[in-house]
């Protein structure tokens, strides 16, 4: 009823290949951006911003990064956590070497380093595929983690072995460090995430995005059609690692304030992978949905017993959360292996034909 595209005619190819050819989708996006930029900042409390929205956006960005590589280019990676770590450490080094430079620029620049490292670890992808490739990315994960611990230069020889975000200002507003207010940090994270998501949407609908999908769907055919596999895959690794690197840098600069090597462990890699798979491989919107599910569900579960008035031990909640998350992952994989993005499309299809489904 409300989701009809009848009567919306495209009169040019330009209109037809717009990001959202259907009016209702455009309205929906504007509404979401309105909520994100106006409603949430106006009404949310600190806890909601720092513990839900900021991590959600950071993880969404990381999930987009991994989705570029795994969902769009078909290269399974278990090294996301480490690539995020490279971004974080690079941003930390940059901002301590150039203390007067704008910290947001440094965060965006840090991705370049993780892109370079990602490309290096992407090299074996020319010869290695699937699960085998996953092992090489595991090598990246463990090797880089080791570097974060064993190269004291990376954390400026801090006795603690951790990186601590320094206080930085921009236009007189504190943007990083402990005094940065949640609302400022939220806006920075929101802008970066939305901006990168928009740019990636552009890339993915064009020539480069298509060449990634060609490699994913049928690498041999792609090669026979003139796609250079190494170049294309390395580019996917680089772009993916860039995004993950920025996400990792945001994670420490605008969310956690300090990070140990163990913050970027294999567990983080898996967390991001879950988001991508549950959200939907090869869907940008799905990355957001997956991140929302995987990050917010446990937070939500923690509150349920309290709000219902049960006195349940903290560890029991933790154990049950693990069980529920695990079971839900299996459940959703069974119900819809293509993730929430596909569920959403099916829903839209139903809406489109409602109330006459046949």
């Amino acid at each position: 009823m409300f989701y009809r595209e009848a009567g919306q005619f495209k009169t040019s190819y330009k209109a037809d290949q717009a990001l959202m050819p259907i009016l209702q989708d455009r309205v929906g996006l504007i509404a979401i951006l309105g909520v994100a930029f106006i409603v949430i900042p106006a009404f949310a409390n600190d806890f909601f911003l720092t513990s839900i929205m900021i991590p959600f956006l950071v993880f969404s960005l990381a999930a987009i990064g991994l989705n570029v590589l795994t969902g769009f280019c078909g290269q399974l990676s278990l090294g996301t956590g480490a690539f995020m770590g490279v971004g974080a450490y690079a941003a930390y080094k940059l901002t301590t070497i150039f203390p007067d430079a704008n910290v947001i620029v440094m965060v965006l620049l840090s991705g370049v380093f993780s892109a370079a490292i990602g490309a290096v670890f992407g090299l074996p992808s020319l010869r290695i595929k699937g699960l085998y490739l996953a092992v090489t990315t595991l090598a990246a994960q463990f090797f880089l983690e080791w570097c974060f611990i064993r190269i004291p230069w990376l954390y400026n020889n801090n006795a603690s072995g951790a990186i601590e975000v320094p206080h930085r200002e921009m236009f007189g507003i504190v943007v990083s460090g402990a005094e940065a207010t949640p609302i400022v940090r939220y806006f920075i994270v929101l802008c970066i995430t939305a901006g990168i998501a928009f740019l990636m949407a552009n890339v993915l609908r064009g020539r480069i995005g298509r060449s990634w999908m060609m490699i994913r769907d049928m690498d041999i055919a792609a090669e026979l059609m003139g796609i250079r596999p190494l170049q294309t895959k390395l580019m996917a690794f680089a772009v993916s690692s860039y995004i993950c690197g920025v996400a990792g840098a945001m994670m420490v600069f605008f969310w956690l304030n300090a990070a140990e090597p163990s913050s970027y462990s294999i567990a983080l890699s898996f967390q991001i992978l879950f988001m991508v798979i549950l959200g939907g491989l090869g869907s940008l919107g799905g990355s957001f949905m997956g991140a929302a599910f995987i990050w917010i569900l446990p937070v939500f579960l923690k509150f349920i017993p309290g709000t219902l008035g049960f006195d349940v031990a903290a560890e029991t909640v933790e154990h049950v959360t693990f069980m529920i998350v695990g079971a839900l992952i299996i459940f959703f994989l069974i119900v819809e292996p293509h993730g929430f993005a596909r569920l959403w499309q099916i829903g839209k299809q139903k809406l489109r034909v409602w109330p006459f489904p046949y």
């Binding site: 990001l19 959202m20 989708d25 929906g28 996006l29 509404a31 979401i32 909520v35 409390n45 600190d46 806890f47 909601f48 720092t50 513990s51 839900i52 991590p55 959600f56 203390p99 463990f142 080791w146 611990i149 801090n158 006795a159 603690s160 951790a162 601590e164 206080h167 460090g177 402990a178 005094e179 949407a201 609908r205 956690l256 304030n257 300090a258 990070a259 140990e260 163990s262 913050s263 940008l284 919107g285 799905g286 957001f288 949905m289 929302a292 599910f293 917010i296 939500f300 923690k302 509150f303 709000t307 031990a313 903290a314 560890e315 933790e318 154990h319 929430f340 993005a341 959403w344 499309q345």
Partner: protein, 442 residues
């Protein structure tokens, strides 16, 4: 990309959660709220569970026996961190709005994240014998307390003790001391001090890092120990690392009486894992050994027997359980001191900071608490938030811990300048680090 609308769903869920979070934010009147960041899951649960029990039980006992502190009940809430820094920060954000008085992160990683926030949110951090050593410098870190000792105090005590065993520190010349540690901020903290002492006393320091992933698989480290044949081994371990290390030491037949752990490698389960062979293993400690203390009897009576705790009665009196109790004693005394200082019953984080800074746990006070001999009397000053209090060495006799030495004073003359240097460095690296504006209550 037309399905970006799905964000709406995520946002809707998120808002729902946010509201439920907001509802619980309503501060309760006439109560003092103490969040406990604990971990009963994950690789460090083995140590974390006992600490959590100890902390929980003592505060609960005060509620049951005395009706709280100064007539105001304590509300405690455990938040599971799993030793994970992210979850720790989440716990912090979720609880700080409820009028939290103090945080005890029990993880160096979480502590580091909370240190800069403490001054901003006006909630002190009590990292009892862990965390950032430099935080002992109260003029730089007014909001952080690491009473009774820093790791550097501990490291100096170990060297001092080894010196005693060898008949004097001068005999350390030419000796090899191995240092096996958890390869994280925690285990790396003491290294600068150990290195400095090595220069001074002429022993050789051999390092054996154990990665968090390799905690349960230390055979390489101990093979290296076998090859290097150090005269003493010092351990900075936590969680699953401890029992594994002790087992491996038994396996390579390392003389256990020359193996000394930090106070966090002093768990009963840790030593018990080594079986008969672990007899003679030593560890530092600053909280009471055993359970012959009236306060523990009260815990048994009012809390454990009343079914208000998940504590297994057998584990009461264990090193780590007692450590948790001591932690709660410091919290409780901090609150009491704050109440006395401010005259308020329901206090805030700022009051709590003053209370902790004015903390003076004397022998008499310990006796009143039913904890005579449970800990060395400790006193916090505005300059020194750790106090470098004496610690003792305990020894595993195959079944339980026995005190094996008197109280040993740390080498304050060496530690203090190092602490000040490190604090200055921290402030510089994190410039602009706020200068102390908080008044000194003493």
């Amino acid at each position: 990309m037309k399905n970006i609308k799905q964000l709406a769903l995520g946002t809707a869920v998120a808002i729902g959660v946010g509201l439920s979070g907001a509802m619980t934010t309503v501060a309760q009147a006439e109560e003092n709220y103490v969040p406990l960041l604990t971990y009963r899951t994950g690789p460090f649960a083995a140590s974390g569970i006992h600490i959590a029990n100890g902390m929980h039980d003592y505060l609960k006992m005060l509620n049951e026996r005395d009706g709280g502190i100064g007539g105001v009940k304590l509300v405690t809430e455990e938040c599971e961190t799993g030793y994970n820094a992210q979850k720790g920060v989440e716990c912090y954000e979720a609880t700080k709005g409820k009028g939290a008085l103090v945080y005890n992160p029990y993880s160096t990683g979480i502590t580091l994240q909370l240190i800069p926030k403490a001054g901003v949110d006006k909630i002190p951090v009590l990292s009892m014998g862990y965390g950032l050593s430099a935080a002992a410098v109260g003029s730089t870190f007014p909001w952080v307390f690491n009473v009774p000792d820093t790791y550097w105090d501990g490291a100096s005590v170990v060297i001092k003790y080894i010196g005693e065993q060898e008949g004097g520190l001068e005999n350390l010349k030419g000796k090899k001391i191995g240092y096996i540690f958890l390869d994280a901020g925690y285990g790396r903290e003491p290294i600068p001090l150990l290195e400095q002492l090595a220069e001074k006393y002429g022993y050789e320091l051999l390092q054996y890092p154990v990665g968090i992933k390799e905690m349960q698989n230390q055979s390489s480290q101990w093979l290296n120990v076998r090859r290097d044949r150090p005269d003493y081994m010092v351990m900075w371990g936590w969680g699953a690392m401890n029992p594994t290390a002790i087992k491996e030491a038994v396996k390579i037949r390392f003389p256990m009486d020359k193996f000394i752990g930090v106070w966090w490698s002093a768990g009963d389960d840790d030593a018990a894992a080594g079986g008969e062979g672990a007899k003679g293993y030593k560890a530092m400690n600053f909280s009471g050994v055993g359970r012959d203390f009236p306060a523990l009897d009260d815990i048994q009576k009012y809390v454990v027997d009343a079914g208000l705790s998940s504590t297994d009665a057998e584990t009461m009196g264990g090193t780590l359980y007692n450590r948790g109790v001591l932690n709660s004693v410091i919290i409780a005394e901090g609150i009491r001191t704050a109440q006395e200082l401010t005259g308020k019953k329901v206090i805030t984080g700022e009051d709590m900071r003053m209370g902790l800074e004015a903390l003076d746990l004397t022998e008499e006070r310990l006796k009143e608490l039913g904890l005579s001999g449970f800990a060395h009397p400790m006193k916090v000053t505005c300059e020194d938030h750790a106090g470098s209090h004496p610690v003792f060495i305990q020894e595993w006799d195959g079944k339980e811990w026995r005190q094996a030495s008197g109280w040993i004073e740390p080498m304050t003359d060496i530690v203090r300048p190092l602490l000040e240097k490190a604090a200055a460095e921290y402030a510089e690296k994190n410039a602009p680090w706020p200068a102390r504006t908080e008044p000194c209550p003493n």
